[in-house]
Symmetry: C2
Subunit: 242 residues, 2 copies
């Protein structure tokens, strides 16, 4: 479920096909171009009676436009073999996962792999905070893959040639002193627990963002964003396309 | 109001004085060291009957510990005169403002100045997402200042020697090609509208984070975080303390 005109717009930008679009009172006129774009992808249009939209949506402020899109599951085979990957392990907060997807795409990351005991990738809040980036493809945007077991996933990424770098609150190499230009898979862990020691054997190294005291940690979405944009900065400095 | 043991802990780390601490069932024992620290600052302790805490808190998941701290208003005079400042204009979302304060502190920013038609700085969600960074001081952490009119604030910061750089979705200098080592005030705008053109005359330049298509924008907290950490990176590279 896509909630709000901005997310629907973002999904259409990335070539998503919508099954249906649901409009609140006045939205047919207010969002005419958006409705036309949705219809062009085959979406059924339904105008809802007053009060119905509010009951369907999950946002506090009701959104005037909702849409439903089919899920196109992606696998590791859909990922590019170069650039940066972002791997999330046991991420619990849908806003964090969605924001990470949005930032990762904006930084030119090839893919986001959500694994472990993660919030559902299709939770409406993940979709919403991704601002449509969820619907990226290998040729336009960032591919988002849902995976199960983190160890098996990291082992497979290693076999495929990715250098797996765990993000750690301390003890890792300073993130800006690590070569992030190519074939890096940055791995971030759960909001409260970070990455468990059981993953150490599946990592090729770890990176740390130096923090200024008294700060002891960064929000995981912020940390992922900072490192993804450092990779983008290094690629630009090296003249390498994302 | 401070909701949750982590925020209370973070506030105490930064020298906050608590007026009172409210404990849910079992919290007196579970958080004994935290309660002791609170008491040492003069906090009154109240154990609440079952169900009362849930009614006081604003979080969906009830927090076992709440606290109340007095507000110590800060002014521009409390800010350091060097380093980086982050200025927010008309920021609407409490989670964004709190996250920005947390990231700004972690990046060694001297202060955060929230001005314009901003969400209340003392909104419980701002306090919570700041993870205690709200309570920073000039000697330990980041000073957070609430200001009114953005134009007057930016003019005053200019008189005080700050180079005011507006964050813009496009058209600015690439943020990593701008010298951010010293006396920079980074200015970010409202989530939907960005910075209005009326502020142009109060800015010395603008910076843009290059984004990869199809991405068109970053969440404002992400953008602020990326630029604050680039300033921190430049300071480290130049051997300058934050």
């Amino acid at each position: 479920m896509l909630e709000g005109p901005r997310v629907v717009d973002g999904a259409l930008d990335r070539g998503a096909r919508l099954d249906a679009i649901y409009l609140g009172s006045g939205a047919m006129r207010a969002f005419a171009p958006l409705v036309q774009r949705a219809v062009a992808t085959g979406a059924r249009v339904a105008e809802l009676k007053e009060g119905v939209l509010e009951k369907l949506g999950t946002t506090r402020t009701p959104q005037p436009v909702l849409a439903v899109a089919s899920i196109t599951p992606r696998s590791l085979d859909d990922l590019a073999t170069r650039g940066t990957l972002l791997v999330t392990v046991d991420l619990g907060d849908p806003g964090n996962l969605g924001t990470i997807i949005r930032s990762a795409e904006a930084a030119g990351t090839a893919g986001v792999v959500a694994c472990g005991n993660s919030v559902d990738l299709y939770n409406p809040k993940v979709v919403r905070s991704s601002a449509g980036a969820m619907f990226g493809t290998a040729t336009f945007g960032t591919v988002v893959v849902e995976q199960g077991d983190p160890m098996a996933t990291l082992e497979e990424l290693g076999r495929r040639g990715w250098r797996r770098l765990g993000a750690s609150a301390d003890g890792g190499e300073p993130y800006d002193e690590v070569d992030l230009v190519d074939a890096c898979a940055l791995v971030v862990g759960n909001e409260a627990r970070g990455l468990g020691p059981e993953l150490d054997d599946c990592l090729d190294g770890s990176v740390t963002i130096p923090l200024n005291p008294p700060a002891e940690s960064l929000n995981v979405a912020m940390a992922a964003t900072v490192v993804c944009f450092e990779a983008a900065r290094q690629r630009r400095a090296a003249g390498v396309a994302p």
